[in-house]
Amino acid sequence: MCLGIPGKVLSILEEDALSRPAKVNFGGVTKEISLAFVPEAQCGDYVIVHAGFALSVLNEEEARETLKYLQQMGEVNGGCSE
């Protein structure tokens, strides 16, 4: 139940504030998801979805920062690879 998964917003079907239905793609599987709790979500955004409702829009900048930090850490440690 807490296993929310990220999906990409393909199209917003209706702008009704209470439902805001959208087509969301989860690695090839498309489902209708409500964007009612993420009024800021736009087409092309990635959202975390639980029980049919998107609960957050993934922050691309934060994601990039984390990955950059992990990359740099590898370089500091000698950049060894498995």
């Binding site: 989860f26 009024p39 609960l55 993934l58 992990l70």
Partner: protein, 361 residues
Amino acid sequence: MKYVDEYRDAQVVHRLARDLAHACTRSWKIMEVCGGQTHAIVKFGIAELLPAGIELIHGPGCPVCVTPLAMIDKAIIIAARPGVIFCSFGDMLRVPGSAGDLLTVKANGGDVRMVYSPRDAVNIAQANPDREVVFFAVGFETTAPANAMAVYQASQQGLRNFSLLVAQVLVPPALKALLASPERRVQGILAAGHVCTVMGYHEYESLARDYCVPIVVTGFEPVDIMQGICLCIRQLEEGRTEVENQYARSVRREGNLPAQRLISEVFTVTTQQWRGLGEIPSSGLRLRETYKAYDAEERFALGAYQAAESSDCRSGLVLQGALRPSECPCFGNCCTPEKPLGAPMVSSEGACAAYYLYRRR
């Protein structure tokens, strides 16, 4: 898949493990709260990559597992009534009640339906005006927005044949109870990233301060979990006890405000019984007076029903982190996912099921 594959990079996980081995000078016990994280830890073999001395203790964050037996029985009683369509997430269907489970009711002719979202249950209620449609509203803060929306929409549409059987629990009060316990064993906490996506993490700041425990809000992929452990151990080694946010791509300090507003419109905080942990003040949600008409316990007059827990299943100890699933004498013998004694062997977030599926020891 974007936002998944890059967080399953084995090289990064190994790099973090080496970093951790350098940083760690003594033994530490860390609890991952969420059952989804427990499954990822066991599935991806993360515990095997940790330096000797770091022990992960599995927390009570499996909503199916902490739902009291009496509530499972109530679901079974309601589902067996003629004229009822009982809707539930798939996880709940095989949880054993005092006699049988929801699938037994279905096998005996009951109309029990597995749905993906409470919205589906609202649609079923609209399409079947002559039937009573009940949704089993189980879960932590992650399912509360969806369940609140289902009730809100039903009330806006004037639907009279829809109700919720509410077993909604809240993480911070349970965490507080675990940290305040005289038998407390954990020194650091990985908080559940999706619960914090909804509620934010400001509530954890006082917990970290009052109970001198570092709390790292953590995601669900192997890189997330390994980084969460690294951040937590670094705090412990440096003597800091702060809240850190590893899962910043999804979690903001204030959480999702529209979702929180709807939760408090529909629900109010109440004392809740947790299976294995007992009664915890302010750790659950119930429908507000305005929405009482949508309470299945009222509608089917089951408020006073009680049930005694079985003594065979030791899931209470597993849920408190006091017993590893594989240490239970029933594990893999008289208790398997096909024939479970208790909920942790059933749920996709249950620790016993994770051990059974991925490690067996």
